[in-house]
Subunit: 176 residues, 2 copies
DNA sequence: TCCGTATACGTTGTCATACAGACGATATTA
DNA sequence: TAATATCGTCTGTATGACAACGTATACGGA
């Protein structure tokens, strides 16, 4: 593929420095995030992903399980037993949607809301630990850029972004 | 844990907005990165992870497979068959370390180096697509912050960081 | 030198997890 | 009413990670 690469300077201009690689730095961050968050949430159903499911349930205006799954990039069959476990743990409930009885509206119980609120405090600390290399201002810059990156989807339809635009506006016009 | 949370304002001050969650934005970025990179590298052995292995082989000064595995956060038994597939594909070779005959030095073949150089060009484009929401300057800021986050490990020993310090210096003193 | 321990790598077996496909229930449209 | 699409669930399968063990080699003390 694309044979126009015989220019020898190309491979020398990019000497494959391992610690500069974007994918590697991204992987390290994700790993640290998962390790630290996994340590924080003790018996919480599905670790960091379960936490994000609960965040989406409480915060997002997601009408059904499928929307929830697409929002998080999870297969819909996986979402089924994820929510099963949350129901078993008494954190969420499946409610019937009166206007579409195929769909299940997933709502947090009072206990789920409390658990989430507590976890969010722990997760804020986890984020600070993971981003400890940055000072407060840099952390905010990083978070803002990351949010913009996440909300701008290269391929439309891969996840919902209507709510993103709402948040952008709400936060004051989308950063610098 | 940490029962000092009866303050009711806490759960209202953090209303669990799904699109602000750090973990969610991180997940979206990783997913986009993996999807886009997976589309780019056609029959490359193990997708984005295989690419990162090759980057580490060529660029990192990693003495053996174990160091390689720890650098990437991979189990050492997984690294075995990852490298097996690279050897089969003619991209790398296992060389005996004369000073420690238990260890195998993994080096890229000429073909592996060419494949990596070509892939790195494609991956640069992938990164631009994934970070398309940012302009060039913001992209550089994001990359720099991410690199600093990755090189500052919260738990020492989780991966090597000696080389990180070297890169930081090489890039001009480690950024503001 | 000899012996015990530690390390690097490989292999095997086991288990979790994601995903494809099928199915029932409901909605929508012709 | 009939045909088709969608939501959620269930089942089987395959991919992948990890634990445990084995082999070869290095290191350190007796």
């Amino acid at each position: 593929m694309m044979g126009v690469m015989s220019n020898s300077s190309a491979s020398q201009a990019a000497p494959a420095r391992a610690q500069e690689d974007f994918g590697w730095t991204l992987g390290v961050l994700v790993r640290n995030y998962q390790n630290s968050s996994g340590a924080v949430m003790g018996g919480f159903p599905h670790g960091a992903r379960g936490y994000q499911v609960l965040v989406a349930v409480v915060g997002g205006e997601l009408p059904n399980q499928l929307a929830l799954a697409q929002h998080l990039g999870i297969d819909r069959t996986v979402m089924t037993y994820l929510i099963d476990d949350f129901v078993t743990a008494g954190l969420v409930e499946r409610q019937l949607n009166p206007t579409d009885r195929r769909a299940r509206i997933v709502v947090a119980t009072a206990r789920g809301g409390e658990a989430l609120a507590e976890l969010q405090r722990s997760m804020a600390q986890v984020e600070d630990v993971v981003l400890a290399a940055l000072d407060a201002g840099e952390r905010e810059v990083f978070r803002t850029l990351l949010r913009r990156v996440a909300c701008h989807t290269p391929e439309p339809g891969s996840h919902d972004l209507g709510a993103c635009a709402a948040v952008e506006q709400m936060l004051g016009g989308g950063g610098n």
